[in-house]
């Protein structure tokens, strides 16, 4: 699909004409957006999760878990190594490169069990791993206790390699979300710049896991014979976004591309997303540190199409049954991060649109691309009908996380250090 047919500047122009009172020439009903800065001065805020009354749990990648209460008061609950002023500090929780404390999720039965979950890197095992921690929050939101690590063995990149963004902790996944449809916790992981991981039946990187509140495999995970039963889908590169279609419950992920082709994928239970960056296969020779993920050329600009032919994100030649992406960002890689659905009449024509955040990169002639996209995705998640840029008041930013609040407003955390609330009028 070409950018010409996917972007809709004309519609935007028409919508604004309607708002300033010109005769309506169309039924376009696109809301005006206003924004409030909910929190600022944060350090790499990474994810948020809301209770119905507006209470917002949020993570900062190198600091830990905090909660903002509806009256604006903030309590720092679980700090990482070296932090102060947190009710509890867990010295095993570490941050490096892209890793640290990432996703946060609230238990669907929070009213009864007051349970929250976070995804964090930890040095409790050697080598380090990523873990999913389960904790109980006390009644006045000042403490967490009863930490149980329900997943302890998600791979973490232990040392730097010769790759772009090649530091330790890279390609670390980290989004966690409960499906409103099946009630299970979905955990997205990354390939660690390690070519063995994505197609490995046992290593949990480059996967989407589907587990229950104790970390046990969800019933009905259909990954192939011999796979770890917690695996729902495999063959991913680095999944940092997951959400569920508001009417069908279909899980949909966003996956970072390697200097080309950021992807949106509808997950198929047991499916292979077709990422396999191993050397000496699929027409490739040796690669730096045994990982072909940025080949044929790591650090010089070249046509993304040539890259895609050499190192596809979805290798359908090797894996003909691989899940097909719904969208590939017109062949570009621009730091696709988080995904969420807009739901509610206040969003007008955008009710039911998928919103996707891009952090921007700007490598090798590709436009930086910091934005939120509004995507009209088919109900089955297999194709997109329309893609537009959301005209957000804050303009460009590294949009890390997008979460719908309980009142239906869209919240976004940006790497610049703020969490904004975007309200449709």
């Amino acid at each position: 699909m070409s950018p010409k047919t996917t972007l809709r500047p004309l519609c935007a122009a028409i919508a604004s004409a309607v708002i300033v009172g010109f005769p309506a020439v169309t039924t376009a009903n696109e809301p005006e957006l206003s924004q409030t800065e909910v929190l600022t001065g944060l350090e790499n805020p990474w994810d948020m999760a809301f209770l119905p009354d507006g209470t917002m749990f949020y993570t900062e990648r190198c600091l830990g878990l905090s909660v903002r209460l509806p009256d604006g008061e903030v309590e720092h609950l679980l700090g990482m190594e070296g932090t102060e002023e947190y009710a509890t500090t867990a010295d095993d929780l570490v941050c490096e490169g892209q890793a640290g404390m990432n996703g946060v999720a609230i238990d669907p039965d929070f009213d009864e069990n007051r349970t929250v979950y976070v995804y964090s890197a930890s040095n409790m095992s050697e080598p380090r791993t990523n873990r999913v921690l389960r904790m109980t929050v006390n009644s006045d939101f000042t403490q967490v206790s009863d930490r149980t690590d329900i997943v302890e063995d998600i791979p973490y990149k232990p040392a730097a390699t010769d790759h772009p963004f090649g530091d330790a902790g890279a390609h670390n996944g980290g989004r966690i979300r409960f499906s409103p449809e099946d009630g299970y916790l979905y955990v997205t992981t990354g390939d660690n710049h390690n070519s063995e991981i994505p197609q490995s039946p046992k290593l949990l990187g480059g996967k989407v896991l589907r587990i229950d509140q104790d970390g046990k495999a969800a019933e009905g995970n259909e990954s192939p014979e011999g796979f770890d039963p917690r695996i729902y889908t495999y063959g991913h590169r680095n999944v940092q976004g997951i959400t569920f279609h508001p009417t069908t419950g279909q899980p949909i992920v966003t996956e970072h591309g390697p200097w080309h082709s950021d992807e949106i994928n509808a997950l198929v239970n047991g499916g292979n997303s077709g990422w396999d960056p191993k050397p000496n296969m699929a027409g490739r020779g040796d690669c730096p540190d045994d990982y072909c993920g940025y080949e044929p050329n790591q650090t010089e600009g070249m046509d993304p199409k040539e890259r895609a032919a050499y190192m596809p994100v979805t290798d359908t030649e090797t894996y003909p049954d691989a899940m097909q992406p719904a969208w590939q960002n017109d062949g570009l890689s621009q730091g696709i991060s988080s995904a969420e659905f807009l739901v509610g009449e206040q969003w007008g024509d955008w009710d039911g649109r998928l919103v996707v955040g891009f952090m921007g990169i700007g490598f090798g002639g590709t436009p930086v691309g910091q934005r939120i996209n509004l995507i009209d995705i088919a109900e089955d998640g297999l194709s997109v009908n329309d893609v537009a840029k959301m005209p957000v008041p804050m303009g460009a930013a590294r949009f890390r996380s997008l979460v719908l609040g309980p009142e239906g407003d869209l919240y976004t955390a940006v790497d610049e250090g703020s969490i904004y609330r975007i309200t449709p009028e």
């Binding site: 790499n44 490169g97 892209q98 730097a160 010769d162 772009p164 963004f165 090649g166 530091d167 790591q298 650090t299 010089e300 952090m359 921007g360 990169i361 700007g362 490598f363 930086v368 910091q370 460009a396 590294r398 790497d415 610049e416 250090g417």
Partner: protein, 105 residues
């Protein structure tokens, strides 16, 4: 180079050469907002994989920018920084260094 960057650089150049004075911080500020903030953050405090520039003096920043401009590697992500320094003039670098040294948080 994108056009807006070109315009800002051209403006910075024009200002710098017209007065021939010491570094022009406000030109540095404009150029930083347009060409650097997207990675290093609006106040240069760094984000994600992009280093913080806070606490660096003008001399350090100047020497780094000259190194990148020459196409030389420093750290493992230099390939991302080098293209952003290639077209900087000496005045740009002086202006940026003055602005960053004073303002980066």
């Amino acid at each position: 180079m994108n056009t807006s960057l070109f315009i800002v650089i051209a403006a910075a150049l024009a200002m710098g050469s017209a007065t021939g004075q010491a570094a022009d911080k406000s030109a540095g500020e404009a150029l930083f907002a347009d060409a650097c903030a997207q990675c290093h953050g609006p106040n240069g405090k760094g984000m994600a994989s992009f280093p913080s520039l806070s606490g660096r003096d003008a001399e350090y920043i100047t020497s780094r920018l000259e190194t990148y401009r020459a196409g030389e590697k420093v750290g493992s992500n230099s390939f991302l920084m080098i293209p952003n320094a290639t077209d900087l003039s000496d005045d740009d670098i002086a202006n940026l260094a003055a602005f960053i040294a004073e303002s980066a948080e």
